[in-house]
Symmetry: C2
Subunit: 352 residues, 2 copies
């Protein structure tokens, strides 16, 4: 049992960095990001492939775009999290470089390389060297509002990509974005700190997870994108390990790891479900649960909300953002600071 | 401490399924796979993208091909592990469908869909419905030798893809394949069961890992492909959980999970290194190790061997195959049978 009571939180003590405020504001940020993206001065461009370059919280927008274009567009989309541009990137590729700070080393390096191969580009940052790069090369730059942690700026880092694709005639998102906005608004009412734990499913799940290592299962589509986001949010906000795996692939290997119940005291499974799953994958979830649920510390499911894939995806992500904060409070850590990353960046920068 | 002594193994008892024999034969299989692929009746084809369809052990060949083409070819390559073909797959896409048994549900489904969109295809299986599909549609079929577990047939499931790319004029692999073969031969001498544990680094690593959950770190290139293979081999052979994460992305989230040492008794890190890493990524390995090694149960490194990327990659994979078997013996499990997958497949098949 944690000594923290989730129903009598003093956020000015347990959340000095204001992560909960930022998560509660997400629907507002989502709306603002949409509006700003629709009026952004976007040049018409034609391209056959898209490379999104970003790291951590700044790369999730790329995952979201890729997953939501998978069924809608014949564009080849890849997300690059690193230093090494694939050889296929060329003149016909739209380069989308995203770094919240604008100073992420890997992103700057790969954007620099990418811009040697293609003149079609869009850069997103709150400032930094990425903005300078855009200005000096005459590349459209979408300026993100400052004052966020990168992972808390998800609306600004992802929604504009969908709007830009809509405006470039690649795929239609507007109706789904509007549905999403309304569902996110409902979720705030249900998951915010004032709602006590028995009727607040995010608190309830955090209490259940406390003390364990969550393993999050999603599907090959949007569920997998949400599962990876949950993993990273639990790492960064709750400051503890967590892992993610995808259906149907996990039925071919991961599942055999649960032949033993030796680690039953360590791991708990959260399955992220949604109505857009492949029918056979839905069946796999239930068969897998029956086979492993007595070998892990438990199995719980979270269901995406809404009709469109956009809403299903963002609602799964948003639920996880709340869970990661409640779990942080239970763990007795302030969700906002990520000191170990700051130390790492300083050390990396020192060693040129 | 395990009750098993790795230096006095009776393989006829602890390895009834013959997994070690199959791993010891890997260099021979590699050679045979090369030779068979060079004489295979391969039609000349032109294409702009490649989609490799496969699951589990049958998909690793796709990962290997994608990683090794990344710097060498402007082809767009993607590996599909699932039921859902991306919308970009079309007439200009080469479909490579791989299923060791030839009866993997997801692979059959996605190949069926893929062949509606493109007539350029290659199918690999030891028989089953995938072979029938090839015969009935007049598609080239590379027949894999039977009698293996899919994960143990890696040479046949991966080497031909490299040879085919060479023969189609996409990229050159022959010299690297020859280097790889010679290095794999050296590794057998060093890692086989007759070599006692103090001088056998695979036994040594398995003894160190015993009782813990391995987290395997690789890089965005070939190291990441090997890390995922290690994860799945430990799942399937050693019958226990294991996870994989990639540099540099893990420095943006995973690393924060090691702010706490609460799970120090559970996890141990293995970093897969190689001489083809990005220079900045190499630095990240050492800085990350310094920051987290007292928060996890320990950090050990395994180094890829040889000069070419092909040899670096296969040598990392091969080392992990040995480790996963020794860990299985320590865990007191026969590496070969994967009963839980058989149960799952039966149940899935029953529910049409």
């Amino acid at each position: 049992m944690s000594v923290v009571n989730l129903d009598s939180l003093d956020l000015s003590v347990c959340d000095r960095g204001g992560s909960m405020k930022s998560v509660l504001d997400f629907p507002k940020q989502f709306d603002e990001a949409m509006n700003r993206a629709f009026v952004f001065d976007l040049p018409m461009m034609r391209f056959g492939s898209v490379l999104i370059i970003g790291m951590g919280g700044s790369a999730v927008g790329g995952d979201i775009l890729k997953a939501l274009l998978k069924r809608r567009s014949s564009l080849f989309v890849e997300v690059l999290r690193g230093y090494e541009l694939p050889a296929w990137v060329g003149e016909d590729t739209l380069i989308i470089g995203i770094s919240y700070s604008g100073d992420t080393e890997e992103t700057l390096h790969s954007c620099e390389e990418g811009l040697k191969r293609s003149s079609k580009a869009l850069l997103l940052s709150s400032g930094g060297k990425l903005e300078e790069m855009a200005l000096s090369k005459g590349i459209p730059h979408f300026k993100l509002p400052s004052g966020f942690q990168p992972r808390a700026a998800l609306a600004y880092l992802s929604v504009p990509l969908l709007v830009f694709m809509e405006r470039l005639g690649i795929a239609s998102f507007q109706r789904e974005l509007e549905e999403t906005l309304s569902i996110l608004g409902e979720m705030v009412e249900e998951l915010s700190p004032e709602v006590p734990s028995p009727s607040n499913p995010a608190k309830d799940l955090a209490l259940w997870l406390y003390g364990s290592v969550p393993v999050i299962y999603g599907d090959e589509g949007i569920g997998g994108v949400a599962a990876y986001r949950w993993k990273t949010q639990i790492n960064e906000n709750s400051k503890q390990p967590a892992y993610a795996c995808l259906f149907p692939e996990l039925d071919h290997n991961e599942i055999v790891g649960w032949t033993t119940d030796r680690f039953k005291g360590v791991f708990k499974v959260i399955a992220l479900r949604h109505s857009s799953e492949n029918r056979r994958t839905s069946l796999r979830y239930s068969v897998t649960r029956d086979l492993i649920s007595d070998k892990v510390g438990g199995w719980r499911e979270v269901e995406g909300r809404g009709k469109g894939e956009t809403s299903l995806l963002y609602s799964l992500i948003y639920f996880g953002d709340f869970v990661s904060l409640y779990l942080a409070y239970l763990n007795g850590v302030d969700p906002t600071p990520v000191n170990i990353i700051s130390k790492l960046k300083d050390e990396i920068k020192r060693q040129k």
